[in-house]
Symmetry: C2
Subunit: 390 residues, 2 copies
Amino acid sequence: MIVSRAVTDNLSKASWIRRMFEEGARLKQERGADKVFDFTLGNPEIEPPPAVLAAARRVLESTAPHLHAYMPNAGHVKVREAIAGRLRVSTGLPYTANHVLMTVGAGAALNTVLKALLDPGDEVLTVAPFFAEYTFYAENHGGKLIVVPPRADLTPDVAKLEAAITPRTRAILVNSPNNPSGVIYPGETFVEIEAMLARAARPIVLVSDEPYRALVFDGVAVPEVPPLVRRSIVATSWSKSLAIPGERIGYLAFSPRLPEAAELFEACTFTSRVLGFVNAPALWQWVVAEVGDQVIDVGPYREKRDLMYEGLTRIGYQCVKPQGAFYVFPKTPIPDDVAFVRLLAEEGVLTVPGSGFGMPGHIRISLTVERDTVVRALPGFERAFKKARG
Amino acid sequence: MIVSRAVTDNLSKASWIRRMFEEGARLKQERGADKVFDFTLGNPEIEPPPAVLAAARRVLESTAPHLHAYMPNAGHVKVREAIAGRLRVSTGLPYTANHVLMTVGAGAALNTVLKALLDPGDEVLTVAPFFAEYTFYAENHGGKLIVVPPRADLTPDVAKLEAAITPRTRAILVNSPNNPSGVIYPGETFVEIEAMLARAARPIVLVSDEPYRALVFDGVAVPEVPPLVRRSIVATSWSKSLAIPGERIGYLAFSPRLPEAAELFEACTFTSRVLGFVNAPALWQWVVAEVGDQVIDVGPYREKRDLMYEGLTRIGYQCVKPQGAFYVFPKTPIPDDVAFVRLLAEEGVLTVPGSGFGMPGHIRISLTVERDTVVRALPGFERAFKKARG
């Protein structure tokens, strides 16, 4: 055996997910791709706004020197200043270029900050349901992810979070709008978290992972975290808001209210470099500096959310109504979500079990599909529901 | 203290490098930037070939769908097929798309493969002088870098490599053309390494880090490693050959002769994902598939190499003549390279001590400067040499 034990273990744990993907591929082969409704992938099917592609073309046409060269590992100062300017407006806090570190997407941002925070054995708290990769991100740096159950509305139960704090807790990692639930954590949650952190025996940082911030419906506002929580760091990307997930561009923003902001900025500049990110792709840095406040049309996602949410609740599924992101996360009619995912697959409907997100008894339905796919899949959702209840 | 002990330790170890950078900045402020000759940074000052920027513009103008969307974590299959096709030609080995994993540059490639290979306490051998980041890349994944001294010509001493093998040795990591020495390891070295690996008690992989492969002078050919070493993996990037280091695009190529190629491809697809790279930037994948075999004009680098190498040897410096990359790595006239770097700085000449590359008694001179800078700096190199000898 040549692959490390740690990776071998992770791959074998992940093998049931792979088996399900293979089952999906087999189904498509057997029945024809148009008879299989694949709700497993969070891959935006829409194209970037034309202004984004136009901005990228302008960078490539520019005769300015060194646009594609190395730059400070934290990113181009002008780009970071542009992001800081937007953050000053949205938060009212005095962000500067030295509070912003450009990253190779949000996954890079999270690994960069967790490596800066964690020594072996340190703990990161998160709230179920959570983005499955968090487990790996913590373990990459010797840390351990501790998952805390949510309230019934799938928002954080801050009393339970506080009970989970130990002397090894270094960070709390939250994701709102949430993947997989689409739930937006209310401002009140962060007020409670702030009070809790103020009572903690040593500094604990709140890391707010916000790639879905711009994808919200019904006029709901996503609370800005830094004005509410003193020790906060925002990690995000433009993958969803500009529909460029393949391009890997995001940032870490260290709150000006964070007493250790300068120390963490320096540490993360180092960890981003030595983890091999080196810097965020230069071209896309220039692009987001110019048009990073654009947002794709969220109308189609809202429409699909409405269709799926209303369709499922009409059938009898219990579900918290998602207010953002592009997922629906209903309860399964039987407690065994993996068994229910198999029932759905028999109907040609592919979903992901909630167990993968620390929340058994649920399934994640990704809406990055055609509207028509939602309409045509609902009868399958109904038949599986009845079979399970039958 | 909020930053992890591990990162704090690394930052404090690195602080003398930072002090030297600060000293350089102070010098430029004091004397004027035109009186300071900065040979510390390996940042190509040239622009990408026009065909590269044109290919990128074509991607942005294309109406094909999903060009900027997620793709398989290993990269677009068509892109990997294009790279595999080039590797078939250059090596004569039957590479396919499943032997090629697109990465966020070579630093990402190395972290991706080291995480797949190393469990805590495992060892990676390398040969001095070596790219300083290797230490961090190994330690990121719980590994340890073991540095083996080279022969007098700065090529690997394979007998010493073999003596350094322990039951924890998992990989040998070499870099040719070499940063910092510019030396190209000859084919014979790899023949010896192959014989050594064949004698080893358990599989050890040779990781060949080759970002400077295309930057060679005097018609010298860089030996292809996979035909010579059965268990080999190539890590590389287009940072230097296309002068796009800010864009972060490279690959890992698992040799078709490597018995564990499929296993390592799968493991690295996983580690690339969970380390937060997710995938190599989509736009640049399409670009390198099309024009990745272009190479910048190496003429100016050769000219600067000649000027610097001849200038230094005329003064009395001892130096192996670099045949590739864009560095010169002379011996210092006194054993204490850090002290000599300070003497040079007094002359306005900024260089990096060889200690940083596992090779005290040397300095690294990076030629990513104007030709004129080389000419104007040589008197400073001469004065410092005489002072040191004086």
